[in-house]
Point group: C2
Chain length 280, copies 2
């Protein structure tokens, strides 16, 4: 196995391992409230069209804690289209690509608990890089929670590079923004792309840390508010906030556009959409 193949394998395995860890953790959290065992159900899908490979979608729905949480792990490869290859680093002259990723979106039943989103990926063309991040979308303001989340991210980022937090936070604020509403999607987080420091082990260590930090922060945030009471007014605010989430994902999200333009798996692409939402 050559070095690049080894890196691909290691990354793919890490994403599957992280998926298993997070699903187990969320199942435990679900039991804390419902006192019933509720498991993620898995669904395998194959890439269609010109791409090869596929993925596994794990979903837990209609829980007492989780309204809907989806975890998607996939590895796809093939050739980019003539139009698309111009936009991808290292694919201008050679359209071959290989990509593996993990993506998680959690929509909670309790409107006092924020929605959480996380993604990391490893892309290989004639170049290679990591990308990803995480962000939090509360329906009701909670400054303490926002500080806890960002402090956690800052602490983790600082272990890897003195400027990661400030740069990756800014990327996140810029990306998760709805211009037509003049609103941020939520409380932000970190977001990065084209990460390649010519030291794969160092970058991979960051990617692992981003994943573990998501597991720990999301788990702590969920557990803290698990038993908080809420009323119909809180729920309505959450459902309107979810409407904004849907607007962002369908109007602007690059991943959604990429998936739809490449005949991706619809269920996997729309995994991020909340189960129910409102508009004024």
């Amino acid at each position: 196995m050559n070095e690049l193949d080894y890196k691909k394998k290691i990354t793919e395995r890490w994403f599957a391992d992280l998926r298993d860890q997070i699903c187990k953790e969320y199942e435990k959290i679900e039991i804390l409230k419902s006192k019933k065992v509720k498991k993620f159900s898995k669904k395998t899908w194959k890439a269609s069209g010109t791409a090869k490979g596929g993925g596994v979608m794990s979903i837990l729905k209609d829980g007492e804690v989780f309204d809907k949480v989806g975890v998607n792990v996939s590895t796809v490869y093939g050739k980019f289209s003539e139009e698309f290859k111009k936009k991808i680093p290292g694919a201008e002259k050679n359209p071959n690509f290989w990509a593996t990723g993990i993506s998680i979106v959690a929509h909670l039943k309790n409107p006092k608990i924020p929605a959480m989103h996380f993604n990391t990926r490893f892309i290989v063309t004639t170049k290679s890089w990591f990308g990803g991040g995480m962000d939090m979308t509360p329906s009701l303001d909670d400054k303490k929670q926002k500080k806890f989340f960002h402090d956690g991210l800052k602490k983790m980022c600082s272990k890897h590079h003195s400027s990661y937090y400030s740069i990756h936070k800014k990327n996140c604020d810029t990306y998760f923004y709805l211009p037509h509403r003049n609103e941020s999607r939520g409380d932000g987080g970190i977001f990065f792309d084209y990460l390649n420091n010519k030291d794969w082990n160092k970058d991979f260590y960051y990617i692992r840390d981003v994943g573990i930090t998501f597991k720990n922060l999301s788990s702590e945030i969920f557990k803290k508010k698990l038993h908080l009471k809420w009323n119909k007014k809180d729920k309505d605010i959450q459902l309107l906030k979810r409407g904004r989430y849907i607007e962002f994902n369908l109007l602007y999200d690059r991943g959604t556009k990429f998936g739809l333009n490449t005949n991706g798996n619809i269920e996997a692409i729309f995994m991020s959409l909340p189960p129910i939402a409102k508009w004024n």
Copy 2:
């Protein structure tokens, strides 16, 4: 007043008149079920950015019959952007435009009653034309209702031109389609653009007839099913169907894209979105 100004005035007045007729008709239908008077509330908005003019949005929400029905009448004018003018007939060399329109979307509470959509408009650049149409989106199949709707459209179209129905129906089927779902948005209807037969009175007569026919057909369809019983399963099917409606409007609808790209009034652009929707 020159001839063109006269045509603009007449069309604008007709749209306001039609709005009043339809709002009155729907308020009557609401009373048939709720036995309470519920009125449309009106909201005036002004165009922002480079465009001038504005519109009036009439909305009736949370009724016994209507979950949400919005009627938007607007007249805007100004100059198209450098990029946009290339795409608009008659604006390539002269970016001035003037446009008036009426647009209606009705989302019904009873899942056995279809959602109805209607729009007509008159656009003036160095050329001028009418556009518009109507379509019906049931949540539950009803072949008799589909036949009633299309028979009504065919009858109306045939008074104006022998091929209007077949061509305008086909446009509608092509336009209201979700490629990523491989699904039609609903039962179709009629849809047309760039209508100019060099006989303005003839075209205007068609536009009036399209509006009156929408009023009559939607009113008959609503009244017929007003008192039908429905259950939670029917409601869930409706909420999922509404999810598709939102996908279409945010991913593909030209009017939504036009509005967002030209800093249109957000409330007026998103008037078409249902008040609540679900995803699987």
